[in-house]
């Protein structure tokens, strides 16, 4: 057992972080917020070239041939910078929908929860989006449509691809969502700590006050627990592990963003600070398939199932 990142995994993570810092840094994020939700097709193709979507496709099919753990590390980095767009749906469509693997085609999907992200901007929609109504989305960078209950049967019957071909798309969506939440949670914790070191009140950095210190420590504890759970779920691809990872990652991201806001005081309540973007994206992701209720029920059933013990 060596439950740590391999050198290759470290290098992959660092490479993706570098790419995203260059192509979707803080200024780009803020510009995107000002411009409104429009998909950056050039960036999408660059992600495709970097292997973001084809990561788990076998090399024989033109993919990168990596596995779930690598995909999770990549989605974690995407979560860190709040990279917008139907990233998971396009990734899951690589090898199924033409052009998805290369980033030529933008694919979105009707989520089990009845929402579709980026419907108007996507080239292909998986699932039945008949009668979809736009919402005024809380997250400025995630346009949303709501699908009537009768429609949107989800993705049953669609051939899943990649190294874990046996797993249907719903658990994978939940796992990658958890990875994005983990990235956002870690970023919120770092942002809070930076601010706590720099901002002075009563003649000292606010980070010297225990009330602030303890908020930051709790953020880190949630991040580290979620990280262990998300990485382990990526290794085992076990639906119960995925449910656990999702619960802890949702918690780490949502509570982390709220605590980050509190550490920023009045500044945290402004449009100019990035903190609300963390929180709004984290909230948006909690609505995807495999959310709290679903995960808790699955984990409860595991406790009393014969195989669960």
């Amino acid at each position: 057992m060596d439950f740590q990142l391999t050198d290759d995994q470290r290098a992959l993570k660092a490479g993706v972080r570098e790419l995203l810092a260059a192509r979707f840094g803080r200024e780009r994020l803020r510009a995107a917020v000002d411009e409104g939700p429009r998909l950056d097709r050039a960036l999408w193709r660059e992600l495709g070239e970097a292997g973001f979507f084809a990561l788990r496709l076998p090399e024989a099919d033109g993919g990168v041939g990596l596995g779930l753990p690598e995909a999770v590390l990549v989605f974690e980095e995407a979560g860190r910078v709040l990279l917008p767009g139907p990233l998971i749906a396009t990734h899951l469509a690589a090898g199924v929908v033409d052009g998805a693997a290369t980033g030529e085609t933008v694919v979105t999907a009707v989520d089990g929860g009845g929402l579709v992200e980026w419907l108007a901007e996507a080239d292909v929609v998986r699932g039945d989006a008949t009668g979809a109504e736009p919402l005024r989305p809380v997250d400025p960078l995630t346009p949303l449509h709501r699908v009537p209950v009768s429609g949107g049967a989800g993705l049953t019957g669609v051939r899943p691809v990649g190294s874990t071909g046996a797993l249907p798309t719903a658990p994978l969506t939940s796992l990658f969502t958890a990875a994005e939440q983990l990235g956002t949670a870690a970023r919120a914790c770092e942002t809070a700590v930076q601010h706590a070191r720099a901002r002075e009140q009563f003649g000292q950095p606010i980070g010297a006050f225990q009330a602030i210190k303890h908020l930051c420590a709790q953020m880190l504890v949630r991040v580290e627990l979620a990280r262990a759970a998300v990485y382990a779920a990526a290794v085992t691809a076990d639906p119960v592990d995925i449910a656990a990872a999702r619960l802890l990652a949702d918690e780490a991201a949502v509570r982390g963003a709220r605590d980050c806001l509190q550490v920023h005081g009045g500044m945290g309540f402004t449009w100019e600070s990035d903190v609300h973007l963390f929180l709004k994206r984290a909230w948006t992701r909690t609505q995807r398939t495999g959310g709290v209720t679903e995960s808790e029920e699955l984990l409860a059933a595991d406790l009393v199932s014969a195989v669960g013990r």
């Binding site: 057992m1 753990p69 950095p205 210190k213 420590a217 880190l220 580290e224 627990l225 699955l298 406790l303």
Partner: protein, 384 residues
């Protein structure tokens, strides 16, 4: 990232399982929680069996009499012994998990030869004399004095919350050897024999009704200078070594135990109908996530330690913060499942619920752990 075990590790697990299956049925019945001499004998007997089978001091270095096992083997050992329902380290806790490792890394050859083998063979029990009535979280404020008189220190003062003091042979004792020095600089770490004249042990009753710990009064107790581990006045550094071991792997087996208890709680809820309450059912599901993740965090920390040559890091504080809380939540949920029966001290979970209250206090309170995480991991400024 690899969660599979090597063939050697699997073989180690298989042999251990087989051995446990052979010896556990023949163990005498567990003594009652308040029978301390009985508990001592039981725990030492188990230690002797481990020693004879080659499992004693698994994670200790070979030159300290240990088996030099890898952190992963140690993890497997803790997992399997707990799953098999083997006895807990019990009264051997301090000797095996912190005094022993501290002496192994900081002691002289003579000190290692004197104190380590009896711990491994199950012949001597240690206790921890760190806390004092006025020095708990602020451990460096301790006032128990030791002054030199020839080849001895003469020690006077008092200690409190000393677990297992009633049945201990030795005490890892912190004393102030230089009252003029800044508070962290004048401390020394001594091994004190518990039968020395001048020691009075007064058992304290815990909220669970048992006599888990005691107050220890020291009235001019003579401790040979040769019993000092580390240099004079360098005891604070030695103490940090001890505390890193205390938070390192101490809770691993307990996470496995909590997962087992959670399964039992769920099955109890199924039997008595409480399972139909979705809020309660989902709460138990959430706890399942919690303990699964804590187990993954353990595997993560152990793998990290293995890469760093076996040294436990401050990551132990991250683990302890969440685990101590989760354990309390587990027994609160168990009480919810039991309903009125949760008030019956005859139920095992009721006693466990009471004892879980100590987890956010003992071995450094949650508030102190938060400070450690914030200052030493996140690098936030020290408060005044």
């Amino acid at each position: 990232m690899d969660l599979t075990y090597t063939p050697e590790e699997e073989e180690f697990r298989a042999r251990l399982r087989e051995w446990l299956a052979g010896v556990l049925p023949a163990l005498p019945p567990k003594p009652s929680p308040d029978d301390w001499p009985g508990r001592r004998a039981y725990d030492l007997g188990w230690q002797r069996m481990l020693y004879d089978a080659g499992y004693a001091g698994l994670h200790w270095p070979v030159d300290a009499g240990g088996r030099g096992a890898t952190p992963t083997q140690h993890l497997i050992y803790l997992e399997e012994t707990e799953k098999a329902g083997a006895p807990y380290v019990g009264a051997n806790f301090v000797g095996l998990l912190h005094a022993g490792p501290t002496i192994a890394s900081e002691g002289t050859p003579a000190q290692r030869a004197r104190w380590l083998p009896p711990v491994l063979r199950g012949e001597e029990v240690w206790c921890q004399g760190f806390s004092e009535p006025d020095a708990g979280s602020d451990l460096a404020a301790l006032r128990t004095r030791a002054w030199r008189d020839g080849d001895d220190y003469v020690v006077s003062g008092s200690k409190i919350w000393t677990s297992h003091a009633e049945v201990a042979d030795w005490c890892e004792l912190l004393v102030r050897t230089d009252p003029a020095a800044p508070k962290h600089r004048g401390i020394s770490w001594l091994a004190m024999p518990m039968d020395a004249p001048g020691i009075t042990v007064r058992p304290l009753r815990t909220l669970a009704g048992s006599t888990e710990f005691a107050e220890v009064f020291l009235d001019e107790v003579r401790v040979p200078v040769s019993h000092r581990v580390g240099a004079e006045n360098d005891g604070w550094r030695v103490t940090m070594v001890t505390l890193s071991y205390e938070r390192g792997t101490a809770f691993v087996g307990e996470v496995v135990a909590c997962r087992r208890v959670l399964g039992e709680v769920a099955r109890e809820a199924r039997k008595n109908g409480r399972w139909d309450d979705p809020a309660l059912r989902r709460r138990l599901g959430g706890l399942n996530a919690e303990f699964r993740a804590l187990w993954r965090l353990t595997q993560w920390n152990v793998s990290e330690a293995q890469r760093n040559g076996g040294v436990p890091g401050v990551g132990g504080s991250v683990f302890k913060l969440r685990y101590s809380h989760a354990r309390q939540e587990l027994y609160d949920a168990a009480a919810e499942v039991l309903g009125p029966e949760a008030l019956d001290l005859g139920r095992e979970w009721t006693l466990d619920r009471l004892s879980s209250l100590s987890y956010t206090i003992a071995a450094g309170t949650s508030q102190i752990q938060h400070n450690i995480v914030a200052e030493r991991i996140l690098g936030l400024p020290k408060g005044r």
